[in-house]
């Protein structure tokens, strides 16, 4: 398979070997990947909980979105960069790891779910937000987000166990 041989080449570049064999760098990147959970998922879940009326029910959804969601973007950027470095360092094994593949699929699903919210519910948010009732679809989107991120964390933990 050409992608697998590309992974083989990738993890044997001096850059990848340097990360993998470093006693300090590898744990540091892996630790950062985990701590960035607080700055990414930790912030987005507040918005999901608001959609479900489980937190900040007295505040408009628009305010919670504007106050919390942009804050999560640097966290997700840190997640992506550290995740990419971890992949590069062990590309061959990671690519063949079933849990990693499921994790990637769920990340795509998380993206599609966010996109669905943006396209379907964000444009009319001013209207339904005033009424105080979150549309059913938006609530489902919030619940899905919580479930997907929980699964992503569990798959991330389990894939590392198999490496």
């Amino acid at each position: 398979m050409p992608f697998l041989s590309w992974c083989h080449w990738l993890q044997n570049t001096p850059f990848a070997t340097g990360i993998r064999q470093s006693d300090l760098l590898f744990p540091l990147i892996e630790g950062s990947h985990i701590m960035a959970l607080a700055l990414s998922v930790g912030l987005i879940l507040v918005f999901d909980l608001r959609l479900l009326r489980l937190a900040f029910a007295a505040e408009p959804v628009s305010r919670i979105m504007e106050q919390f969601v942009p804050l999560s973007l640097p966290g997700f950027a840190a997640m992506f960069i550290t995740g990419l470095l971890l992949f590069i360092a062990q590309a061959e094994k990671v690519y063949q790891n079933t849990f990693f593949r499921f994790k990637l699929a769920l990340l795509v699903l998380a993206g599609l779910n966010a996109l669905f919210y943006q396209v379907k519910f964000y444009p009319k948010m001013a209207e339904w937000d005033k009424s105080g009732v979150v549309p059913r679809g938006a609530r489902i989107s919030g619940a899905l987000s919580l479930i997907i991120w929980a699964c992503v964390i569990a798959l991330g933990r389990t894939m590392a166990y198999e490496l």
Binding site: G31, M35, G42, L43, Q67, L71, I153, A154
Partner: protein
């Protein structure tokens, strides 16, 4: 119960044997350990960004704490419970691990700080003076992130 007794019980108990030998028991428990971490660290970051005036400025500190404090407590309880479940099957290994011992000490300090000084500040109607806010945020973030780092280091110190 001494460490020795925990050790003896752990290696003779059939229940603990299931935890130890089921292939995915430990990563599953550790996944929940990370859910707890996400809640504790996540809410701690939110509280501190707000105290420092770096984010969530349109919502007051007491309103944030009325909504998110229970998430932090819930997350902490999940992490402690799952932490014990990870410790029990292999007490000898963890007790000898420097990172684990360090983590316990910092965790104790973090919990103490969180439920005294920090709790009082995030519940107060009047915000702290800027200098005091910076000091509180520095202590809070340092303690909790060091708990996380020390936890991560356990695996790399054997």
């Amino acid at each position: 119960m001494s460490l020795q007794q925990i050790w003896e019980w752990s290696y003779s108990s059939k229940t603990v044997d299931i935890l130890r030998n089921a292939k995915y028991a430990i990563p599953l428990i550790q996944s929940f350990h990370l859910f707890g971490l996400t809640l504790v660290l996540g809410t701690t970051v939110i509280f501190n960004l707000r105290l420092l005036g770096l984010g969530v400025r349109k919502i007051s500190v007491p309103v944030i704490s009325s909504q998110l404090w229970r998430l932090a407590v819930g997350g902490l309880l999940v992490s402690i419970t799952t932490g014990i479940l990870v410790f029990i099957p292999d007490p000898a290994r963890y007790a000898a691990n420097t990172a684990f011992r360090t983590k316990l000490v910092i965790l104790l300090a973090a919990i103490l700080f969180h439920f005294t000084v920090f709790r009082k500040v995030v519940r107060a109607e009047t915000p702290p003076a800027p200098r005091r806010a910076v000091m509180i945020a520095a202590v809070s973030l340092t303690l909790w992130f060091c708990v996380g780092w020390a936890g991560r280091a356990i695996a790399f110190l054997g």
